[in-house]
Symmetry: C2
Amino acid sequence: MKPAYSRRQFVKDIAASGITLSAIHAPLQIFASPKKDIVRIGMIATGLRGQSHLEEFLKRNDVEVVAMADPDKGMMADAQKLVAQYKKKAPAEYTNGNYDYRNLLKRDDVDAVIIASPWEWHVEQAIDAMHAGKIAGVEVCGAIKLQDCFDVVKAHQQTKISIMMMENVCYRRDVMAVLNMVQQGMFGEILHLQGGYQHDLRGVLFNDGKTPYDSGVEFGAKGYSEAKWRTNHYVTRNAELYPTHGLGPVATMININRGNRLTALSSVSTKAKGLHRYIVNYPGSGGENNSNAKVKFKEGDVVTTQIQTANGETIVLTHDTSSPRPYNLGFRVQGTNGLWIDNRAGEPEAGLIYFEDKSPEKHTWENTKKYMDEYDHPLWKRYSKDAEGAGHGGMDFFVDNAFIECIKRNVEFPLDVYDLATWYSITPLSEKSIEEGGTLQHIPDFTDGKWEARKPVFGSEIY
Amino acid sequence: MKPAYSRRQFVKDIAASGITLSAIHAPLQIFASPKKDIVRIGMIATGLRGQSHLEEFLKRNDVEVVAMADPDKGMMADAQKLVAQYKKKAPAEYTNGNYDYRNLLKRDDVDAVIIASPWEWHVEQAIDAMHAGKIAGVEVCGAIKLQDCFDVVKAHQQTKISIMMMENVCYRRDVMAVLNMVQQGMFGEILHLQGGYQHDLRGVLFNDGKTPYDSGVEFGAKGYSEAKWRTNHYVTRNAELYPTHGLGPVATMININRGNRLTALSSVSTKAKGLHRYIVNYPGSGGENNSNAKVKFKEGDVVTTQIQTANGETIVLTHDTSSPRPYNLGFRVQGTNGLWIDNRAGEPEAGLIYFEDKSPEKHTWENTKKYMDEYDHPLWKRYSKDAEGAGHGGMDFFVDNAFIECIKRNVEFPLDVYDLATWYSITPLSEKSIEEGGTLQHIPDFTDGKWEARKPVFGSEIY
């Protein structure tokens, strides 16, 4: 006979997990600025990712995009076209080289900026924004070096200006439904989590220099959009290059930096074969004689990272972007009462789930659809109409909405500078671990002890 | 446009992967003994696992079970009952304490023994067998201490007697079909592999002392079968306790100890919550007041191990046996041309698979059924009738058949003492890694350099 899961056990699981039901705290008022009805935005970088944020803002009546900075005049023209399509006033332009964004930051009529530039610019621009008194929403990536993570926290502490970590996957519908289930204690006490970036990016890392996807084998100076800069990281580094899509969602589930923290990691990497093979194999412009076939890529095709936490959970991250594979962020959430795994791209029926107290057949997976519907997060219920048509299956609406609503209400961001520093730090720490053959690396406490008292805020009904 | 996978690329992938098609070498003649028609077997341990091997042997005309050793007279009686059911001659009994097996080893009429005792006995008994001149088939587990792995190899080198690592999952039908696909180069060059032991064992680790499964919360002296000894390991150790079901199958796919080797690992463990929760929650005999509710279990509920190889692949192993979950060994095999993942228990339709050159839709999983049928391993095609009704979905037939056929033909075992030492070593190395907070551990080369020249032999059509 299998023991039945009882209400008594449920209450025990909850007690053990440290969750109090409805424990998501009302965010604190933290900005120096007063509440506002309209948020005046400056765009820092107007490439494809910047344009995606721009379009979310253009749809809204509570946002004015007043200025945009990008040294790439082609991307700037495309961004202005988008503004015109929405019949909004053309924002001022800053296209005079890489540092013209600093002139945008001097404007009195900008409340906040979105930083959607190439990875190597994020931290410098975020720090500049804070010193200029501008709130910043900073796109995802990993830090170039560990010191960057300390520097961005220091700038926040000096200026008291807040920044938001713009991790859209934290807002994926199935991820938020699972967060809801976690916060209701359905998984029991959380033990183990997995996530990653398992996405065949070969057609993004290389193109024909004119169109972004699946169009050739050029990169760097001859590439277009991400191929222009992202691919270079694969030449010079071997690391968990893109940790936050996998880590962010599971970090919110175990209250990282808010009662818990990441303590250590170790990373291993496979050989690097996929990008060279792609170039050599590409019909037409590819082949052995293409000059890029001589490039030696350093980034291993699959990078795996084991992370430990203060509260005794473990996390495994996978970076897998150079091989042919279906898209799958590979989430797994496992607790003492059940587990969820995700095999596809977030479709409600694409996962497998099992709860000891709920699943009708012992030792047998259930399809996720029923649970994704029943535990659809209140935020998604509230905004699903507004999210229709937004980028990445609606996620982009939520991350931009959170950014704007927090500024309007003058409350703290659900994903903040400490989350940014912690999540970004995975990249240089994993790089060092791999370089040293897979050694253990301690993850700094960027909150300097404040994680113990800070309360969870991600997953409110409003943002 | 996505590049098409060409015949030319296929040949390149194969060249890169170091595979020559049909590269599985004819095993070498290695035993000192001559070929034989009948193999005379001694059973060391006649518990439930031993009885399972025993039954496979009783079905065969080329095996005589001449003696059996086990200090547990109840298990011995059950084993003799099984022999009687098959109307075979009752084997001699050795039940006089833990070391009576040594008297069995002295018999002149025993060619080989099967060691299916509790884990802590495997290495000592295998070494004793070799020194007594008996070939041994040794059941799966991890070593108690690293020195055991060196000792077992040394005994082999001193005595020239061979032992077989009895890893049945290497023979699982879907696993062998995937091995077939790997050996045909369909995955391209292999990059990353995963496996594990993800099996809710709570109902095995605890029972009522009379029946083996799901019957109570006793273990140790008051437990029955595995609960009698296996559970103690969860009290005293925190390690990848059971590495071989996950590691063995993927090790054969990348020719570990035969052109490749495991070089290093690091392990992390979650907190230990599941077994205590099971005891406390068990209806009737369980509860807070049961004395076992006071036991502090050391083994973390989920243990993850990252392994690196000489040829640049990585392997992730998961040990997850203390939580409610559907059974799933969690295999993943990924190469430059495709990947396979396994979500259930080996059913041909239960996995997901993708090949760049074969899958009809780009970036889209296929169901595994078609491939499992088309690439069904020649060994399974040959023996599927014989395997019907054998333990663990037929796998047990194959592992026992390989053991017997190799002895009869006087050829080397497909899984040998070096595989045993290497796979067993994961347990003490992971234990040390976890104890030290997740540090990197180097995996010894038990072949002492011979791995470079040794040729792959696992996956022939005969055994």
